[in-house]
Amino acid sequence: MVFLLQLIVSGLVIGGVYALVALGFVLIYKASDVINFAQGEFLLIGAHLALTFLLVFNLPFIPAVLGALTVAVVLGAAVERVVLRPLIGEPIISMIMATIGLSSALRGLLQVFWGTETRTFPNIFPQDAINLGGVVVSQVYLWSLGIALVLLALFSFFFKRSIMGIAMRATADDQQAALSMGISVKVAFAVTWALAAAISTVGGVLLGNINGVNISLAHFGLKVLPVVILGGLDSIPGAIVGGFIIGILENLAGGYLDPLLGGGVKEVAPFIILVLILMLKPYGLFGKQVIERV
């Protein structure tokens, strides 16, 4: 029983991180109908930037993260300007391929700049674990859960209420109509990518605190795809719920099936779930159904 509870709780906390990373995907998809396969690399860049500010420039934690955020925002906007904007209006397959190419290019650049060895964050969050009714959870997980929830609330509000958020939703819905209402599609896209890069930086710093910073962090970007599909690609609440469900399911699958199948089930379980969702309910739990008419 304690084993089950432990699995569920650690699933919940890792689910919080999933939700945070998923938010970056959903943001870009909501505003521009593009899935960013380079999200994992954004995480890694964010983590490395924060580390560089921390260790090379010897800044305290908060200013270091702010510095990393600034660079990431510039980088996100630059990526949009250089890679995505020339492809506006091209078929969706070009966009997908461009982000796949981007992920490969960024991963190469990252290795040139920062090498491949694992780097660890200095201890930032309190190290003693917390005991939640028999289940032990390390504090960094709780912090990431909390930060994820705050950011999710902020972005829900941003998309519902702020002018920019509404403009971004309009752009995603119909670019021409948005243009004729005086919305600058270019600005909306640039802001989207900048925001996504910023979120990824926060996610990267949190994940870097949990697992250390190395290239496997980039695979996290792919692992979050089942989350966004389950929740619905354009749904912020979906990202949260999907994150928790996938987090719990993969932990349960890993906990109970690993001894039978010889390990690694945790990595593959979300993708089996992904296939099932795609077959049964392609637009996810909360996604907008697209109805096509000739």
Binding site: I92, S94, I96, A98, S104, R107, L109, V112
Partner: protein
């Protein structure tokens, strides 16, 4: 001698060519000069290994294997518009099927080759099933899941795949003739690549190929004109994966050892890069792309060797540079030449079509 032939400009491709039958109009190589070009290219391909250093022959072998896989992926992604990020895994299915059949069950290579293709086709069609309801992004996700799941199977189904240690394969043989040198492999691969190329080239001119393209261009319109979407999409997945399986088999028997790290998502991305750089929806382009993507790492390695004096640790960054170059080339081609190398080749040909009096 017909009157037209006398007046021909000997250099212009299409000058003085009159088509009087439908067969002439539909020929793949309709003009005497293009047939001459074909013959010259064939001669170069056949004579190449006799003159070249074995190292270059081995490079050509790798290109030939990649070309078969790339043609397959192009049939699916370029012609049918169904994006697949699982091609690396489908290639692996072929390699492992043939590896298991030949090394564990003692099946001869020539039987294992088509069986491996069929096994890959079945797996590909299975993961193509979601394409009934999904397209674009969502389908890309489904094939990505296929990649992850198949990779997991390769690592964990140790009874068949040997796990992370992989499988040892033997060189194919025909009678007493063993394909054990670069040159022997070369002619085997040349024949198979040529067959794969001709089949694909002709497939795109049949009802099936036209249906593929109709689905790519507008699936709803295709359905309205009587093309059964599901049927043709699954067929595209199956044909494409068959090619992948054959490529995997050849790869396995050529390197004589396979392990899961050959068939990862980066392999899938490499193949996608090949068809984008070569030209989506162009069979010839797949071969250009395969050559391009195989040569780039080799050139980079040469460059790094030349630079070791200047940068002592360049050998360590070479992998990173390779990955960067792949990604950057994909993006550059997408932005500046979406139709790829095939389009550049076509531009060159067009320039010489009526040269030197092109007006």
């Amino acid at each position: 001698m017909p009157a037209g032939l006398k007046l021909r400009n000997p250099f212009a491709m299409e000058c003085g060519v009159y088509k009087t039958t439908y067969e002439q109009d539909m020929a793949l190589h309709p003009t005497p000069l293009s047939r001459l070009r074909l013959a010259a290219m064939l001669a170069v391909f056949v004579l190449f290994p006799l003159m070249a250093d074995p190292y270059y022959v081995s490079v050509a072998n790798l290109i030939a294997i990649a070309a078969i896989g790339a043609i397959g992926l192009n049939l699916l992604t370029g012609f049918t518009g169904q994006i697949s990020i699982g091609h690396g895994a489908f290639i692996g299915v072929g390699a492992y099927t043939s590896g298991y059949l030949t090394s564990q069950l003692g099946v001869p290579f020539w039987v294992a080759l088509p069986l491996a293709g069929i096994a890959a086709a079945v797996v590909g069609a299975l993961f193509g099933l979601p394409s009934l309801r999904l397209k674009g992004l969502y389908l890309a996700m489904a094939t990505l899941a296929a990649q992850v799941i198949i990779e997991f199977t390769m690592y964990h189904w140790t009874a068949v795949t040997g796990g992370s240690r992989g499988l040892l394969l033997t060189s194919p043989s025909l009678g007493g003739f063993v394909f054990n040198s670069e040159i022997r492999y070369y002619y085997l691969f040349l024949a198979l690549t040529a067959a794969a190329f001709i089949f694909a080239q002709n497939l795109t001119r049949t009802r099936v190929g036209r249906a593929f393209m109709a689905i790519r261009d507008r699936d709803l319109a295709a359905e309205v004109t009587g093309i059964e979407l599901f049927h043709y999409k699954i067929m595209a997945f199956a044909v494409s994966s068959f090619y992948a399986g054959v490529a995997g088999t050849l790869w396995g028997h050529y390197l004589t050892v396979i392990s899961p790290e050959h068939f990862t998502i980066s392999t899938s991305v490499e193949y996608l890069a090949m068809i984008i750089i070569g030209g989506l929806g162009n069979v010839t382009g797949s071969i250009f792309g395969a050559a391009f993507m195989t040569l780039i790492p080799i050139l980079l390695r040469g460059l790094s060797k030349a630079m070791t004096g200047v940068f002592p640790n360049i050998e360590t960054v070479i992998n990173a540079l390779r990955e960067f170059t792949f990604g950057a080339t994909i993006i550059i081609f997408l932005i500046f030449e979406p139709e790829g190398l095939a389009k550049m080749w076509k531009n060159i040909k067009d320039y010489f079509r009526l040269w030197p009096f092109s007006y």
